[in-house]
């Protein structure tokens, strides 16, 4: 069912991660993602995996939800692993038909999959614990210095907020339209590709019509409330960098230093 999608979903809560400033979370996410690529040693990955597990525990979101976020990636992970297992030259430990599986391939495949998994987990940690609204707020503030070179920070953030706001609405609407057409005997799950694409017309046409109508109404409503872009706009909730954020930055810095040392020592 369409309404059962959990990717990119926000889980309200009061954990340490929920209380962090969105800007701090965004910046630390970027740092951690870079770290995944830079500190590619067994020691570094052990540390990052440990961090990911600790944060998942801290977030208070059920661990099963993180598994769900990995589910769409399952095939890519399996494929990456197999390709590396069979295509890396080195010491062969198992031979099957034309495939030579090597020990080097085994470790490379494993590390690449771990890298992908970590990337997804860290991003999920951000989206699960940050409401879309504060996420775009954080982005706007981070992009503000770029205004000097002509980046429309506020407008970009507003567009993202609106887009995110309407995702659930559109999902719900698609769900209703699908059900309505199903009730009229439409069949979306059989037939070849061409047929299936044609079957989408009864869903897409009503969906586009209502999206245009919504866009129009929203624009009118915003104008009626004197929206004129970001110039001179104040906010009800100001963002605050607090103790939690400094602590998180400190922990991350320590971890980075440790991983750097491990890499230098060749662990």
């Amino acid at each position: 069912m369409l309404t059962d999608i959990t990717i990119g979903q926000f889980f309200p809560g009061t954990s340490v991660l929920h209380r962090m400033d969105p800007r701090a979370k965004l910046l630390l996410l970027i740092v951690l993602m870079a770290a995944i690529f830079i500190f590619d040693t067994p020691g570094g990955y052990t540390a990052l995996t440990g961090l990911a597990l600790a944060l998942i525990f801290l977030s208070g979101v059920p661990a099963s939800m993180y598994f769900r976020s990995l589910r769409p990636l399952w095939w890519i992970l399996a494929f990456t692993f197999l390709i590396h297992l069979c295509a890396t030259p080195g010491e062969v430990f198992f031979r099957f038909w034309i495939f030579d599986m090597t020990k080097e391939g085994l470790s490379r495949g494993f590390f690449l999959c771990l890298r992908l998994t970590l990337l997804i987990l860290f991003s999920s940690l951000l989206t699960f614990t940050t409401s879309p609204l504060s996420l775009t707020d954080g982005m706007e503030r981070l992009l503000r210095p770029l205004k000097a070179v002509g980046v429309p920070a506020h407008e970009l953030a507003m567009m993202m907020t609106i887009a995110l706001r309407f995702v659930p609405t559109l999902i719900e609407e698609t769900d209703t339209i699908v059900k309505a057409q199903q009730s009229r005997g439409a069949d979306f799950s059989t037939g070849n590709v061409l047929k299936r694409v044609r079957h989408l017309v009864p869903i897409l046409v009503p969906l586009f019509i209502s999206s245009f109508r919504r866009a129009d109404e929203l624009a009118t409503a915003m104008e009626a409330r004197c929206y004129r872009g970001g110039e001179g706009r104040t906010r009800m909730k100001e963002l605050h960098v607090g103790g939690v954020d400094y602590a998180a930055a400190g922990v991350t810095a320590l971890l980075l230093a440790a991983m750097g040392a491990m890499k230098a020592a060749g662990v």
Binding site: T3, D4, T176, A180, Q181, S183, D187, P202
Partner: protein, 289 residues
């Protein structure tokens, strides 16, 4: 043969923190040829309930039987049983997509792979029934019609499937009073003339009181009251629990009764209510003289 719900429960987003139980152990039998209304507050489970009636949702627990066939089955039998139930969603005009009125109404019959002449017959019949002239409207694009007309096209699209049971989810929402009267008359006609079994969801107590033979009030995923309108509206405590108000005529007559006028309170139209009051006053004056 009737529609039977046996101990149906349904949970949305099962297995996530957003899990929400929308139906709790609902059992209901809807007899052939009846006209049943379902009412309840937003979130009481009425939309979830009606979506079970043609297999769009399958119960997490319990079963739904149409003419004795379980809708959750995978066999051809279950597919055919689902087709017996026509479903008109809220704001059905939002599901229109074809270039012409006739093509949109023909979408359903075409999915049933009927021969062309049968499709045309059904489209004609359905349009006639919702009072859209076949010759003048068949080649019109549905998006140029008025809201009321679009809704009639959408309902015709469901009627063209020639269902035995018709489920309507708030069929009159957002219509102007005239279009609403007209549509309700059409629905009553479907029931009387075509002998369709009709189940409709409504917030309008007056409509329910006037049309339905039986009312089912939902509250918090359960059936709170299941009775004919003449009884249901007088279950004051339960109505209050469900956050529902009796129709204005019943409320007015009940207040008059409380204030000492001996009037019968079971009137569901303004005319009827006026007659009851006139009768009561005449009686009172008669005794006074």
């Amino acid at each position: 043969m009737p529609i039977e719900l046996k101990g149906v429960s349904y949970t949305y987003m099962k297995g996530t923190p957003f899990e929400r139980m929308a139906l709790r152990d609902v059992s209901l039998t809807i007899a052939d040829g009846s006209l049943t209304a379902i009412a309840g507050h937003t979130g009481s489970g009425k939309s979830t309930l009606v979506q079970h009636l043609n297999g769009l949702l399958h119960p997490t627990q319990g079963e739904v039987l149409i003419d004795g066939v379980n809708l959750a089955g995978k066999k051809k039998e279950a597919v055919l049983a689902r087709r017996k139930v026509g479903m008109v969603f809220q704001y059905p005009e939002q599901q229109l997509f074809e270039e012409t009125v006739a093509a949109d109404i023909a979408f359903g019959p075409r999915n049933l792979e009927l021969p062309e002449d049968e499709i045309e017959r059904r489209v004609r019949a359905a349009m006639e029934f919702v009072q859209l002239d076949y010759e003048s409207y068949r080649d019109v694009t549905p998006f140029k019609l008025s809201g009321g007309q679009m809704r009639r096209v959408a309902i015709a699209g469901v009627l063209a499937l020639e269902p035995q049971y018709l489920v309507l989810d708030e069929p009159t929402a957002g219509l102007d009073p005239q279009a609403r009267e007209e549509l309700l008359r059409r629905i009553t006609d479907l029931h009387r003339k075509k002998k369709l079994t009709i189940i409709f969801v409504s917030h309008n107590m007056q409509d329910i009181a006037r049309m339905a033979e039986r009312v089912v009030f939902m509250h918090d995923g359960r059936i709170l009251i299941d009775a004919p309108p003449s009884e249901a509206f007088f279950a004051d405590e339960k109505m209050k629990e469900a956050g529902l108000a009796a129709p204005p005529t019943v409320a007015l007559l009940s207040r008059l009764r409380q204030n000492g006028l001996l009037v019968e309170a079971d009137a569901f139209t303004a005319e009827e209510a006026a007659k009851r009051i006139a009768k009561a006053i005449r009686k009172k004056e008669g005794t006074a003289c």
